[in-house]
């Protein structure tokens, strides 16, 4: 029996504001999972803390809503503990580019076979409207009353620099397009980033649906070659009047799990856990001298 979007339907009504980009993202995530042929029990969604991180609560899927900034290491441990599970992280821009920036870089470096979904609304929503590491320079909020002073962080550019092997960006207002990117990310072997631009209808009056629609364009339609890393870097720096969406870069390198010595025997969690065999005991005794 084929999986449908209905299999992922949750029982809890989302607490997101009407019009929130997370609704589009939720729809796209479900559609992407279905397109990739995955059933809820095969997936583990690990989120952080924030409006968007409540996503697993609103779907029927394995989920672990963890700590602000920490879904990536939890997902890493989960993947290394049972790499037969499809592990997907879901977190916002504050979570991934603020508190969790260090983990983000290291996870991309590792090329762990996970899908990293970053909900980028360029603001902190759940804590009510402070600026974010991805806010545009000059963005005025309660913690940046004179406008943000720092250069905005770019998940796409940072992932490319760190060695991410699938780097893409989508838009919550284009559910079909985003679903397609998520499906591709799920099928990719290795670290796959999908940065998802989304409006925060309550607190971010600058980066609205209209603001995005005036600027976004599709890389693939524009003739970009995703195997060209140098071109991808150039596109990653593009922001402002033109914002590229689609697959920036894709390549295949050995995943972290493919190289971990401890996984030669298969997933840790699915091995039968039993006391040491006589042979193993002898080996350890010999080592002790």
């Amino acid at each position: 029996m084929a999986v449908t979007v209905k299999d992922y339907a949750g029982s809890v009504k989302p607490t997101w504001c009407p019009g929130c980009g997370d609704y589009g993202i939720l729809a796209a995530v479900k559609q992407g999972l279905v397109q990739a042929g995955l059933a809820p029990h095969q997936v583990l969604m690990v989120s952080g803390i924030g409006c968007g991180s409540k996503l697993p609560d609103y779907a029927t899927v394995n989920g672990f809503m963890t700590l602000h900034g920490r879904p990536l290491p939890v997902a890493t441990g989960a993947k290394l503990g049972n790499h037969s599970l499809k592990v997907v992280t879901v977190h916002g821009d504050g979570d991934s580019m603020g508190l969790g920036m260090g983990h983000f870089i290291h996870t991309a470096r590792r090329n762990l076979d996970i899908v990293d979904l970053i909900q980028n609304n360029q603001i902190y929503g759940l804590t009510k409207g402070q600026y974010s590491p991805t806010s545009d320079r000059g963005f005025v909020t309660k913690t940046s009353p004179d406008g943000a002073i720092e250069q905005a962080a770019s998940p796409v550019a940072l992932a490319l620099t760190a060695g991410g092997t699938f780097v893409a960006r989508g838009f919550a207002g284009d559910v079909k397009g985003l679903a397609g990117l998520i499906a591709q990310a799920l099928e990719h072997k290795g670290y796959a980033l999908v940065e998802m631009l989304q409006p925060c209808v309550t607190f971010n009056r600058k980066n609205t649906y209209d603001w995005y629609r005036e600027r976004v364009y599709n890389l693939q339609e524009d003739g970009h070659d995703p195997s060209d890393q140098v071109a991808a870097f150039a596109k990653a720096l593009e922001w402002g009047d033109r914002i590229p969406l689609g697959v920036f870069y894709q390549t295949r390198r050995p995943t972290y799990e493919e190289q971990v010595a401890g996984l030669e025997q298969g997933p840790v969690a699915t091995r039968e856990l039993k006391p040491l065999t006589a042979d193993e005991v002898e080996r350890l005794r010999a080592e002790l001298g």
Partner: protein, 577 residues
């Protein structure tokens, strides 16, 4: 007048001179001869220079502690001789290279015997300069008349990988120094070592090694950690067993990643641990609460060292007790164990995983630099790998999962607080759980009634866990007037003090610390209560008093980063008298 099989050697020098490797090799040679050893190391937080020492005590009977008295000092440089000369007892010997700029009279002051040996020359003549340490050990063995063959065995084993020529050269050097020292200094030297024939084979182990071995035997196949003295050797030991035992070891980017990775791995059903020291644990405190809140098993080893902040990185202390007991915001159940011996480290190594999975909550193992790094001879039976039990508590089996009906409740309300546990992967048990307060399904829930029930559920697990808490260990005659109270690594020194006091004292030692043993008060009846601990504020005394309302009569503290010696404790006890 001869003292047979009861002495201490101290090898000292600058970092980089081979103090540790020489000491470890010598300890092995002694153990191979059927003798018991207890060795402590003292090293500085640097790679070259400074002053380090390796002190190995030898006896025919089992040893549990080091002592301050030194009978042979082997200083590898002048500074070491200066610094440790006064540790040598009257009649004891100082073996040093003839070439050191040392005033023999000063070395020999207070009845000590200066024993210069041309170590460098012997090394150069029979091998190479770098073998001077081997010469020193050869000389030491010669002075005490210990079997040259035992030393030779260790040399052959340790240098085998460097080739036959190197082995042969080291043997010549050791033999040359042995004969030289024997000829000049052995005749009237009081302390002698004799092999014990027919002694059973024993292991020489450190606390970290025993912990890691216990964990592996107990089914741990995942460790994530960030290097931090004195816990680093745990992940390094596990890393050596990656291929042979299928252990996933991850040197994470920081301690926050380390603990969260271990939590993720446990969440999906692997047995996973992390290991750190105080500073790393401080970083881990938020995630500790995540494990407690979401009922994820976790084993966390905290090997204490001198604090606060960077403190004394290579030295020992017991100053994180209250921190570990209370760390993280809010309230959730945790178990805390503080093994006291190498053997106990092995047992706690596997027992902690059973407790973590049974109660679906974090278990913290409190060790310290002394226990982590000291070496002792242990009986083979004491680390019986066949006796290890694996108990996964209410982890649902495949059959049980197949039989599940309806929507699975990960945090189902149950009388003993422990819900049946499914790990992700089975179609009948699909669930998402939040670190926010949640309902039985794991959904975010701010409802007051649910919150009260959930809090009670989690905390009830602590009460249920009391059934698995061991009472404190008792040693010594029950009628003894003084009761020495210790926890963690002080077991050894206090046991020795009890022996030396011959009936005047007894020991009550705590390994299981939280939930606090209910029968603790009973063990402490009748006698003058003296808590002995390596910290400034008397943390265990505070815990004991708050849990039992018993007033302690004296606290013996040490917070200079060095472990207690029997002499210390005895002197402190006398002071009060």
């Amino acid at each position: 007048m001869r003292t047979i099989n009861n002495m201490t050697f101290k090898i000292a020098g600058a970092a980089g001179q081979g103090v540790e490797s020489s000491g470890a090799g010598f300890s092995e040679a002694l153990a191979q001869g059927g003798l018991h050893i207890f060795a402590v190391q003292d090293y500085m937080s640097r790679i070259r220079g400074g002053l380090n020492f390796f002190q190995v005590r030898v006896h025919e009977q089992p040893l549990y502690a080091h002592e301050d008295a030194v009978h042979i000092l082997l200083p590898l440089n002048e500074e070491a001789l200066e610094a440790y000369r006064d540790d040598v007892v009257k009649g004891g010997g100082i073996i040093y290279d003839e070439g050191l700029k040392v005033d023999p009279q000063a070395a020999a002051s207070r009845g000590r015997r200066a024993m210069p040996v041309p170590l460098l020359d012997i090394a150069k003549e029979h091998g190479e300069r770098v073998m001077a340490n081997t010469a020193a050990l050869g000389a030491a063995a010669g002075v005490v008349g210990y079997s040259y063959e035992r030393l030779a065995d260790v040399i052959r084993k340790n240098f085998r990988s460097k080739g036959d020529d190197v082995v042969a050269a080291n043997l010549r050097v050791a033999r040359g120094a042995y004969l030289y020292a024997e000829e000049r200094y052995a005749a009237d030297f009081e302390w002698k070592l004799k092999q014990v024939d027919g002694a059973p084979h024993r292991y020489v182990m450190s606390g970290n090694q025993a912990l890691a071995l216990g964990a592996l035997a107990g089914g741990c196949r995942f460790i994530s950690a960030y290097p931090m003295t004195p816990a680093t050797s745990i992940i390094e030991w596990m890393a050596k067993h990656e291929h042979s035992f299928g252990v996933v070891t991850k040197h994470a980017e920081d301690e926050i990643a380390a603990i969260n990775m271990a939590i993720g791995a446990n969440f999906v059903g692997a047995r996973a641990m992390t290991a750190t020291s105080g500073g790393g644990f401080a970083l881990m405190s938020e995630a500790l609460g995540l494990a407690g809140m979401n009922e994820v098993p976790l084993v966390l080893v905290e090997a204490q060292r001198g604090g606060p902040s960077t403190g004394l990185p290579t030295r020992t202390e017991q100053s994180d007790l209250l921190f570990v007991l209370h760390a993280s915001q809010g309230e959730f159940p945790r178990l805390v164990l503080a093994p006291g011996t190498i053997e106990e480290c092995f047992e706690v190594g596997w027992r902690s995983f059973n407790l973590a999975e049974k109660y679906q909550t974090p278990v913290i193992v409190l060790s310290d630099e002394l226990l982590a790094a000291s070496l002792r001879t242990v009986e083979v039976d004491a680390v019986d790998l066949h006796k290890v039990v694996i108990d996964r508590g209410k982890l649902l089996t495949n059959q049980e999962l197949d039989a599940l009906e309806g929507e699975y409740k990960r945090h189902r309300f149950v009388e003993d607080g422990i819900s049946p546990r499914a790990v992700p992967g089975h179609p009948n048990a699909v669930y998402a759980t939040a670190s926010d307060e949640h309902d039985e399904f794991g959904h975010i829930c701010e409802d007051q009634e649910n919150r009260v029930k959930m809090m009670q559920k989690r905390m009830t697990k602590l009460e249920t866990a009391r059934q698995d808490i061991e009472p404190p260990t008792r040693y010594g005659p029950e009628e003894a007037p003084t009761v020495l109270i210790g926890w963690g690594s002080t077991y050894g020194v206090l046991r020795e003090v009890v022996d030396r006091l011959g009936g005047e004292a007894r020991l009550v030692h705590f390994c299981d610390l939280w939930p606090f043993p209910a029968d603790a008060a009973e063990a402490l009846q009748g006698g003058r209560l003296v808590v002995v601990e390596n910290n400034y504020t008397g943390q265990f005394k505070q815990l004991l008093q708050s849990e039992t309302c018993i007033q302690v009569d004296q606290v013996i503290s040490r917070y200079d980063g060095r472990p207690f010696s029997p002499e210390d404790v005895l002197a402190s006890l006398k002071e009060v008298d």
